[in-house]
C-alpha cells in the first residue's frame, strides 16, 4: 500500500516538474508582457506589481501595426487548413481502410513518406511552384502547403480509428441501403469525433506557430500571419520587447480557446481503446 503511494507520488512529482518546465516560459512571456521595459530586464522573474505594471506593449501593438489583420490572416489560414485536413484526411482514411483497390498499398506507403520527410526540405520547390502558379504572397499558398503538411499524419491516425469501427456497422448500413457517401458522413464521421478532435489539435498547433512558410511565401503586409507580424518588433539594433511579448501573449489565446473546445473530445480520443 505504502509502496504504491510512494510510486504514485513519484509519478506525480515527475509530471509536476514537467508541467513547470512546459508552462514556465509561457508564464514568463505573459507575465512580462504586462511590465514596463525597465522591469522586464530589471527583474524578469517577478510578477508585475503597482510600480512595474504597464499596458504599453498592448497599446503599441494595437496602434502601431496591423496586428488585428495578422490575427485574422492566421485564423483564416489555420481554420481553413484544419478543415481541409480533417475532411480530406478522414475521407482518405476511410477509403484506404474500407476499399481495396490495386494501389491501396502503394498509396499508403506514399503517404507514410509524407510523415517521414519534413515538408521544409521542399521549400525551394514549393516557392518556385507557387510563383509559377501565381500564388505567391497569397493565403491560398499557405493553406495549400499546410494541408499537404498535415494530411499524412492525420490520415495515419484516423486510419487507426476507422479500423476500430466495427465492420458490422458498415455492413448494416449497406444492407439498409445507405449510399456510400452517406455511410461516411452519417455513420462513420460521427463515430470518429474524438479522433477528429485529437487530429485537429495536432494539426492546428504547428500551423498557428509556423514562421517558416509565411516568411518565404508571403511578402506584403496584408498577407502576414501573427508569427511573422511579431517579427517586425524584433529589429537588428533595437527590439521592442514590450510589443513582442504582448503580441506573443495574445497569439497564445486562440490556441488555448481551441484546445478548451476540443479538450473533452481530445481526452476521449487519447484514451480510446484503453478502456473497453
Amino acid at each position: 500500500m505504502f509502496e504504491r503511494q510512494l510510486k504514485s507520488a513519484g509519478v506525480h512529482l515527475l509530471l509536476i516538474a514537467y508541467s513547470c518546465l512546459a508552462v514556465g516560459p509561457i508564464l514568463l512571456v505573459v507575465m512580462n508582457s504586462f511590465k514596463k521595459r525597465a522591469a522586464i530586464f530589471g527583474s524578469p522573474l517577478s510578477f508585475p506589481d503597482f510600480t512595474t505594471f504597464s499596458l504599453i506593449g498592448y497599446n503599441k501593438v494595437f496602434s502601431a501595426s496591423h496586428v488585428v489583420l495578422y490575427f485574422w490572416n492566421s485564423l483564416v489560414v489555420t481554420l481553413v487548413s484544419m478543415s481541409l485536413v480533417l475532411l480530406l484526411g478522414a475521407m482518405a482514411a476511410w477509403a484506404l481502410t474500407e476499399y481495396r483497390f490495386r494501389w491501396t498499398t502503394a498509396l499508403s506507403l506514399y503517404l507514410a513518406i509524407g510523415i517521414m520527410v519534413p515538408i521544409r526540405l521542399g521549400s525551394v520547390a514549393i516557392l518556385t511552384m507557387m510563383r509559377k502558379a501565381g500564388l505567391n504572397d497569397t493565403l491560398t499558398a499557405l493553406i495549400l502547403v499546410y494541408v499537404a503538411q498535415g494530411l499524412p499524419m492525420s490520415i495515419f491516425i484516423l486510419s487507426e480509428f476507422v479500423q476500430q469501427i466495427p465492420r458490422d456497422l458498415r455492413d448494416a448500413a449497406r444492407c439498409d441501403g445507405v449510399p456510400e457517401t452517406r455511410i461516411f458522413f452519417e455513420v462513420i464521421a460521427p463515430l470518429l469525433r474524438p479522433a477528429i478532435a485529437t487530429v485537429a489539435v495536432f494539426t492546428i498547433v504547428p500551423i498557428w506557430n509556423d514562421l517558416w512558410f509565411p516568411l518565404i511565401l508571403t511578402s506584403s503586409d496584408s498577407t502576414h500571419t501573427i508569427t511573422l507580424g511579431v517579427q517586425q518588433f524584433l529589429g537588428q539594433y533595437i527590439t521592442d520587447w514590450n510589443s513582442v511579448l504582448a503580441a506573443l501573449s495574445m497569439a497564445i489565446l486562440p490556441i488555448v480557446a481551441i484546445y478548451i473546445v476540443f479538450s473533452r473530445q481530445l481526452i476521449a480520443g487519447l484514451t480510446a481503446g484503453a478502456v473497453k
Partner: protein
C-alpha cells in the same frame, strides 16, 4: 416475401476454397438454419446471400431475380448481426428509420412501420433511448425491428443470440420463432448452436469445411444422419462411435464384430463381407443391461449429474469416448464395470467412407 435459390456457389480467397459447390433451394416462408462448426463457411454463405461478400462463381436468385451483382439494398434482404450493429449515435427510432430514408419510403409510412414493429417487439417505451442505454436483449430486439421495418423478401440472421446470456437466449429464441409464425417470412439463420438450429428450423443445413453435409428437417437429421459428421454434430452429448467389420453374411443377416462391442447381426442389405463399418449409438439410446441387439461394456470413469439425467463417461479398450445417458436417481459408481444395450432401430451404421448405410427397413 420470396423464395431463395443458390446454384453451384463457390467462394475462394486466393487459393483457399471456402465454399464448394453449394446448392440450396429455400421455398417462400421457410425458416432455414445453417449450422456447423466455426470456419465451416456458414457465415460467408450468409454474407454472400446478403451481397456483402462477392461470389467467386455460381448464382444466387431471390424470387427468381438473379442478384449476383446487385448491392445488398437492391436484393431486398435485411440482416441481423451478432453484434447488433446498431448506430450508436442514433436513438432507437432513428436506428430503425435511417435506412428507409434512402430507399424511398415516405415519412408517414416510415412512422407506421416503426410503430408496428415496436408493438410487435415491445419496444414502444424504448423508441427515444440510445443503444448505450439498452440491455443486450433490448438491443437485439431493436436490431430485429430494424430488419422488420425494411419489409424484406428474405431475413438473414447471423448468430443473433451468441452475445446474449443463457436465459435471454432462450426467451429471444422463442421470440424469433413467434415472429416467424407471425411474419411468415423466408429466413436464413446462421448459428453454431445446434439447440437453436433444432428448435427454430423448418429445415437445417449442416455445413462442414465449405460443403453441405446434409439438408433436412431437424428430427430427420437426428434420426437419420446422412454421414458420420452429421451424426457426431447433431445431438448432445455427441453420438458414440464403434469401429466394426462385417465378418460374414448369413441367412439371418450380416454378422458384425468389433473390438469394443459384442458381435451383432444386422440386416444384410447394402453390406458385403469384410467391409469396414462404423457403428454409432447416441448416449440417450444406451441403457444399462445386457438384453439388446447392440451390447458394449466398460468401466465407469466419471458421472456427471445434471438432474433430469446423468452422463456416465465410460472407459473402453480403444480409448475412444463412450458416454451414456442415465435417467433416474440410480447412477453407476465410478469403477463399476457395466454393460450397456441398445435396440436395433437406435443403431446407426456408416460405411468406410462415413456414409450412412440403411439397415433397418421397418
Amino acid at each position: 416475401m420470396a423464395n431463395l435459390r443458390i446454384d453451384n456457389l463457390n467462394k475462394s480467397y486466393g487459393t483457399a476454397r471456402v465454399l464448394a459447390d453449394i446448392g440450396l433451394q429455400i421455398p417462400d416462408g421457410e425458416f432455414v438454419v445453417l449450422v456447423g462448426p466455426s470456419g465451416c463457411g456458414k457465415s460467408t454463405l450468409l454474407r454472400m446471400i446478403a451481397g456483402l461478400d462477392a461470389v467467386t462463381s455460381g448464382d444466387i436468385y431471390i424470387g427468381d431475380r438473379l442478384v449476383n451483382t446487385l448491392a445488398p439494398a437492391e436484393r431486398k434482404i435485411a440482416m441481423v448481426f451478432q453484434s447488433y450493429a446498431l448506430y450508436p449515435h442514433m436513438d432507437v427510432r432513428k436506428n430503425m428509420t435511417f435506412g428507409l430514408k434512402f430507399t424511398g419510403v415516405p415519412p408517414a409510412e416510415r412512422q407506421r412501420r416503426v410503430t408496428e414493429a415496436a408493438r410487435m417487439l415491445q419496444l414502444e417505451k424504448l423508441l427515444d433511448r440510445y443503444p448505450r442505454d439498452l440491455s443486450g436483449g433490448q438491443r437485439q430486439r431493436v436490431a430485429i425491428g430494424r430488419a422488420i421495418v425494411r419489409e424484406p423478401d428474405v431475413f438473414l440472421f447471423d448468430e443473433p443470440l451468441s452475445n446474449l446470456d443463457a436465459a435471454l437466449r432462450v426467451s429471444t429464441r422463442v421470440e424469433i420463432a413467434r415472429l416467424h409464425q407471425m411474419l411468415k417470412a423466408t429466413i436464413v439463420y446462421v448459428t453454431h448452436d445446434q439447440v437453436e438450429a433444432m428448435t427454430l428450423a423448418d429445415r437445417i443445413v449442416v455445413m462442414n469445411q465449405g460443403v453441405i453435409e446434409q439438408v433436412g428437417k431437424p428430427l430427420d437429421l437426428y434420426y437419420e444422419p446422412a454421414n458420420l459428421f452429421v451424426a457426431g454434430f447433431i445431438g448432445s452429448p455427441a453420438m458414440n462411435f464403434f469401429a466394426a467389420r462385417v465378418e460374414s453374411i448369413g441367412a439371418g443377416g450380416a454378422r458384425v464384430v468389433g473390438p469394443t462391442m459384442q458381435p451383432m447381426t444386422l440386416p444384410a442389405a447394402g453390406l458385403a463381407a469384410g467391409a469396414e463399418l462404423t457403428i454409432g449409438v447416441r448416449p440417450e439410446h444406451l441403457a444399462i443391461g445386457d438384453r439388446g441387439d447392440f451390447l458394449t461394456s466398460g468401466t465407469v470413469e466419471l458421472v456427471e449429474r445434471l438432474g433430469e439425467a446423468s452422463f456416465a463417461h465410460v472407459a473402453r479398450a480403444d480409448k475412444k469416448r463412450l458416454v451414456v445417458e442415465i435417467r433416474g436417481r440410480e447412477t453407476p459408481k465410478i469403477g463399476d464395470v457395466v454393460t450397456f444395450a441398445a435396440g436395433m432401430r437406435d443403431v446407426h451404421v456408416f460405411d468406410k467412407g462415413g456414409r450412412r448405410v440403411e439397415t433397418v427397413t421397418a
